[in-house]
């Protein structure tokens, strides 16, 4: 069965919506938090959406269905960035500034396939920082809150300056992974014909 461009765009919009919803649901230790992207993630998503369309990874929007796919794709990208960017604090400032400065030169060069590969590498690095580096440092940087005759509280304040991190359940990471999978599948659906004809 061959899908038309409009059918692909609608299916991609639905997947982008699912991705956006799942990416914002964070399973913390006692309950569920619902995160909505902020200004940093929103502006970055606009930049990425523009580059994805410009490089042909997303088909250029035309008609209602095409525009719906791009709009939902941008929102889903912002939500996925909310999932992947480090929590607010010094670490986020350093990481986001670094990514923003290098984004244009890194992502605007090369073919759409290379662009998507670069994005995947960026996602791996961001996930590493947020879900591996920060939790490990958190566990080893000074005494726990409320212990060591007040020293733990000072250590907690210092840790919060670096990253305002809250532990998540392992299932929370799985939900985030499903959200990223939905984003990737949707991107594959709106893969531009121009990109499909490029060298492998």
């Amino acid at each position: 069965m061959t899908w038309t461009a409009a059918q692909r765009a609608v299916a991609a919009s639905l997947l982008f919506l699912l991705s956006a919803v799942l990416a914002g649901m964070v399973l913390v230790e006692h309950g569920v938090e619902y995160h909505l992207f902020g200004l940093v993630e929103g502006i970055f998503a606009l930049l990425l959406g523009y580059i994805l369309v410009l490089r042909g990874a997303w088909a250029a929007p035309s008609g209602l269905c095409g525009w719906a796919a791009v709009v939902y794709g941008t929102v889903a990208t912002a939500q996925v960035l909310e999932l992947l960017f480090p929590p607010p604090g010094l670490v986020q400032w350093v990481v986001v500034t670094g990514v923003a400065i290098t984004a244009w030169s890194v992502f605007s060069a090369g073919s759409p396939r290379r662009l998507v590969a670069s994005l995947a590498s960026l996602a791996v690095v961001l996930a590493l920082v947020r879900y591996s580096v920060i939790p490990v440092l958190w566990a080893h940087l000074g005494p726990a809150q409320g212990t060591a005759l007040g020293l733990g509280d000072i250590a907690e304040s210092a840790r919060r300056v670096f990253a305002d991190w809250h532990p998540v359940r392992p299932a929370g990471e799985l939900v985030g992974f499903v959200a990223v999978c939905c984003w990737a599948l949707a991107t594959r659906l709106v893969w531009s014909p121009r990109a499909a004809h490029e060298e492998p």
Partner: protein, 199 residues
Amino acid sequence: MDTSAPAPSPDAAPAPAVAERSELREPWVLPGLAVLLVGTVLAVLLYRAAPQSAAEVRTGALVAVAPDAFTPHLSRARERLDASQRARAAGDTAAAIARLAEGEQEALAARQRASDSTQVRTATDLWANVVLDRAELMLASGAGPWYKMDDDQVLKEALTAVNRAQEAPLSPATKTRAAALDERIRRQLRPGPLEWLPR
């Protein structure tokens, strides 16, 4: 320049509006867009309500579907009670008190929609127990250890809540519980070491 090429006919490429209409007529495009719209509304509602469990989603949906019925509000009140117990187990007293306040409202809503005396009794008893649970939590948070002052304001609010529950027609068990809690709060409100002395 090749002049022999035929000039493009005016209807070779469809006009944008015509193309858009034809793309909407393709199989499952319109139903897909409708599902997308419904999904977007549901996502907004989900994020707005921020449910903490599947049970919260179910009872919230029940109240939304039948806001004027007795049973959905009663289920919602019981579910809020469970949510407060979860918050209390997690050590979040403020959240537990907030969940109980929501449960109180839902039980009251159920009582107002009761259609017979049995339903009135059930809703009233649930409401009173939620109020007493909240007062108990307020007593725990307002009573300081021996070297610290009690938070009299919180204790007085707890006492007012208990007295409010005592005014309603309660079952014997709930009445006994309310009387015991009333006694504990009044004792805690006594100045200094008098709170350890029998009245």
